[in-house]
């Protein structure tokens, strides 16, 4: 029988990515750029929320958006048309998430102006993007009313890595069995530190409070 030689490795698969992400974060800190990683399921209203949010923030700070999708550039075009800010499309080449290396490449493709806030719209998916640290300074996710108030129970990791949880489409709540209070409890169970913002991206309800919270985080990031 053949002899077998064993080489012990004991290395986390995410170790290199985590290191790259930390490196990217400290570079962004040095440049005063706040990178927000926005995640959600497909169809939760990410792009509409972004447009509404950017139109509130763009007078105060300089913003750019990186749209990540498996294919197409419809989102990047839509954002640019609706807000006038720089918006680029990243293709993940079939992958279900972005990692720190891909995020860095995306940032290098933005024009070299001094941005205060870069928003990364991650691939619509509640599982994989939560696993991979992109190097962002904060993680936000959108949960929409039709998806149900039990989403935090089904996707624990996503909710535990998010600093900001946006509950979108709050205007259609009367037509669904969505209980806002129960949803908030489910979020806090996964992450007691999460900040929750109920909004309606289409009519603008609640977007002011969200914009203010993001603005504060950007200022804090730049001041420390």
């Amino acid at each position: 029988m053949d002899k077998v030689k064993v080489i012990e490795i004991k290395k986390s698969v995410f170790e290199d990515n985590d290191r790259e992400a930390d490196q990217l974060r400290s570079e962004l800190k040095g440049r005063g750029v706040f990178l927000l990683n926005l995640m959600s399921s497909p169809g939760s209203g990410k792009t509409t929320t972004l447009i509404s949010l950017i139109n509130k923030l763009k007078e105060h700070i300089k913003i750019a958006v990186m749209e990540a999708d498996i294919d197409s550039d419809v989102d990047a075009v839509k954002i640019k048309e609706a807000t006038g800010i720089e918006s680029i499309q990243l293709h993940t080449g079939g992958m279900c998430h972005l990692d720190a290396g891909m995020t860095r490449q995306g940032l290098e493709n933005l024009s070299p102006e001094g941005y205060d806030l870069v928003i990364l719209e991650n691939v619509g998916n509640l599982v994989c993007p939560a696993e991979f640290d992109t190097g962002a300074c904060a993680n936000a996710m959108i949960l929409s009313v039709p998806e149900g108030d039990d989403k935090p129970l089904k996707y624990p990791l996503m909710f535990s890595v998010c600093d900001i949880v946006i509950i979108n489409k709050i205007d259609v709540q009367p037509y669904f069995t969505f209980d806002l209070e129960r949803c908030e409890q489910n979020v806090y169970m996964r992450n007691p530190k999460a900040k929750i913002f109920p909004i309606c991206a289409l009519n603008g309800d609640g977007v002011d409070a969200l914009a203010e919270a993001i603005l504060q985080r950007v200022k804090l990031w730049q001041s420390k």
């Binding site: 030689k5 080489i7 004991k10 986390s12 698969v13 290199d16 992958m95 998916n125 696993e131 996964r190």
Partner: protein
């Protein structure tokens, strides 16, 4: 769904270790997969077969997944309990002030090389 992405990370790391040790053929890769890592071992081995066979050094190489039980720790009563059964709430005192001790590993434990 993210298993394929993870497989690419494993391949990259294994190839690097093989190169450092002047190994030209790896026969087995052993993974530690935590119960709450969100990685599905069956998907991982499926993706592995497809991707590993495209690499000369990993052709026919098997991937073995060893499961690691998820254990949480309660900061209030210092109990350790099984995360899969009780989740965030401590079964001893009912506190939510708990954290995961282990069970979210996705790590390459070791590789095996058949010696002629």
């Amino acid at each position: 769904m993210h298993e394929l992405g993870i497989v690419f990370y494993i391949i990259r790391d294994v190839k690097q270790v093989a190169q450092e040790n002047s190994v030209t053929k790896v026969s087995k890769v052993v993974m530690n997969i935590g119960e709450v890592s969100t990685v599905v071992p069956e998907y991982l081995t499926d993706c592995w077969r497809w991707a590993a066979d495209k690499e000369e050094i990993l052709k026919g190489c098997t991937l073995e997944c060893q499961s690691i039980k998820a254990v949480s720790y309660c900061e209030d009563c210092h109990a350790e309990y099984e995360t899969i059964i009780h989740g965030k709430k401590c079964p001893c005192c009912g506190s939510d002030n708990t954290y995961l001790l282990r069970g979210n590993e996705v790590e390459i434990k070791e590789i095996e090389i058949k010696e002629e």
